[in-house]
């Protein structure tokens, strides 16, 4: 089981990119539920409508951690409109290999975590204006 994951999962799990927190983020999203095993947090900083900084914290399996890492790489530098369009299947494609169907929900979680952070960012913008 452990070694059955695609290399890309192992690469990101062992050396995740953009792992950590951002103090005073412009947007913050948290999705999942500890009782079902996975919780993801996404922190974003936005400059000129673009995601200039993004970090994650994840409680979950290797696939959840790897997909969080991949998500942050994909989203970084994108405009808010572009980032909103990121879907779980885009992330799964980047794994370059198959994961068990029972793990697909991890990719949905990653998509939702980013969307939640963007929602939060938009809400804060409205409050500012």
């Amino acid at each position: 089981m452990a070694l059955a994951y695609p290399n890309e999962v192992m690469k990101h799990f062992l050396k995740p990119k953009n792992m950590g927190e951002i103090k005073n983020p412009d947007g913050y999203g948290k999705v999942g539920n500890p009782s079902c095993g996975d919780v993801m947090e996404i922190f974003i900083k936005v400059k000129n409508n673009k995601i200039s900084q993004i970090k994650f914290k994840t409680l979950g399996c290797a696939v959840a951690i790897a997909l969080s890492s991949i998500l942050t790489q994909v989203a970084k530098g994108k405009t808010i409109e572009e980032a909103e369009k990121i879907q779980n299947k885009d992330l799964l494609k980047l794994l370059k290999g198959d994961i068990p169907p029972s793990k697909f929900h991890c990719s949905v979680l990653a998509e939702q975590a980013l969307k939640a952070a963007i929602e939060d960012y938009k809400k804060r913008q409205l409050q500012k204006n």
């Binding site: 452990a2 799990f13 079902c36 095993g37 919780v39 914290k57 409680l59 399996c61 951690i65 029972s102």
Partner: protein, 385 residues
């Protein structure tokens, strides 16, 4: 190649060299079918009977009470379905909620056919109260099936007491001893056991062979019908090398039992202390009544599958009760039964030490577990110092 440190002995064990040596002749030069009457077959038949005698002697049973099977799962299935078939008038079964699936699933299969099942609850350390067994017994109770020790948390159940109660109440008592045969003394007569399942590959024997002990006075219907091997009770050409290996493995295990358990106690005591020194680490199961070599923990703020994969990077083979490691995404039923929430059982780790484990190994394991837990917590959302 990196060094492998194997601490998953409750899952399976490597075959002992002496066992392989005992088995080898029966693959090639002594390959005869035990059912035939020429010398080659008679020789194989004799080897089976010698193995049967040896195993019977080590558990204080008679050789004609030992039936060889394909392993623990078959033995459990046979014990439950075979007794149900033999005593059709009785429709109530007592078991526990921490049994192995090889016991729980055949029982659930009978439940779907209309049997009434009492699933006894264990306490927070995984112990069954023998008084609960006594209270649950009814006039129509077919059997009681309680494991000798649990495969995940290692808790040793009071089966001698349960056996006594069942004998007094004239109820059949089955125990799954897959985790204990060869590790703890088993005396069939003293413990009042009617049926006992065991497996070879947990005690440095080959996979694919096990046994069911059936007390002489107990009726049981065969599960597998065919050529009438095993005194018409379990058909199929006997796994001669497997049976010979099983007996040899058990003989070695018995010879070294005290010494081995003393060593395992020292190593597990050391490792337990080291791991419990990690903040937010907890022991699952009983503090004392455990199968030698078994340790089970849960860590706050991490998920077990990731932990197993980080340990694997360090060459350490261990297991977890985390739902994330299963295709069903359901947490371990054993951890749930002892009151560990799904959230917490996600962070569980089982280490089962064995014959090859050294002090150097456990020192390395402690170091890697500490580093891995720390790494996962640095990524995790719920672990905040």
């Amino acid at each position: 190649m990196k060094k492998i440190i194997y601490v998953d002995h409750a899952a399976t064990t490597p075959v002992d060299e002496r066992v392989i040596k005992a088995m080898l002749p029966f693959f090639k030069e002594k390959f005869g079918n035990p059912s035939v009457i020429y010398d080659l077959g008679v020789e194989a038949k004799k080897a089976i009977e010698k193995s049967r005698n040896k195993i019977a002697e080590l558990i204080n049973a008679s050789p004609d009470e030992i039936f060889f099977t394909s392993g623990g799962t078959e033995s459990d299935n046979w014990a439950i379905k075979g007794i149900a078939e033999a005593y059709p008038e009785k429709k109530h079964i007592i078991t526990s909620n921490i049994e192995h699936h090889a016991v729980l699933n055949p029982i659930e299969w009978l439940e779907a056919k209309g049997y009434e099942i009492t699933y006894l609850k264990v306490d927070a350390q995984g112990l069954i109260n023998s008084k609960d067994v006594e209270k649950a017994i009814r006039k129509d109770t077919l059997m009681v099936s309680i494991m000798h020790a649990n495969n995940e948390i290692g808790t040793i159940e009071p089966i001698e007491e349960i056996g006594r109660i069942c004998r007094e109440k004239n109820v059949i008592f089955h125990t799954d001893a897959v985790q204990t045969l060869g590790k703890l003394p088993i005396d069939i007569k003293k413990m009042n056991i009617d049926l006992l399942s065991a497996s070879s590959h947990k005690i440095y024997g080959p996979k694919g062979v096990g046994m069911l002990y059936v007390r002489k006075d107990i009726k049981i219907t065969p599960l597998i019908h065919g050529g009438g091997q095993e005194r018409k009770m379990r058909s199929g050409t006997e796994n001669v090398p497997g049976i010979v290996g099983f007996a040899k493995a058990l003989e070695i295990a018995h010879k070294n039992m005290n010494k081995e358990n003393e060593k395992l106690k020292q190593l597990t005591d050391y490792l337990k202390k080291e791991i419990l020194s990690i903040e937010g680490a907890h022991l699952n199961g009983h503090p004392i009544l455990r199968v030698p070599g078994n340790l089970n923990f849960w860590f706050e703020g991490i998920e077990g599958e990731g932990l197993i994969m980080l340990l694997n990077e360090g060459g350490i083979c261990a297991s977890t009760g985390s739902a994330c490691s299963t295709s069903s995404l359901k947490p371990s039923h054993v951890l749930t039964a002892i009151g560990i929430s799904p959230e917490h059982s996600h962070g569980s780790l089982r280490l089962t030490l064995g014959r090859s484990t050294t002090l150097k190994d456990v020192k390395f394991i402690a170091k890697i577990v500490k580093a891995s837990v720390e790494k996962l917590r640095s990524m995790s959302v719920t672990w905040r110092k």
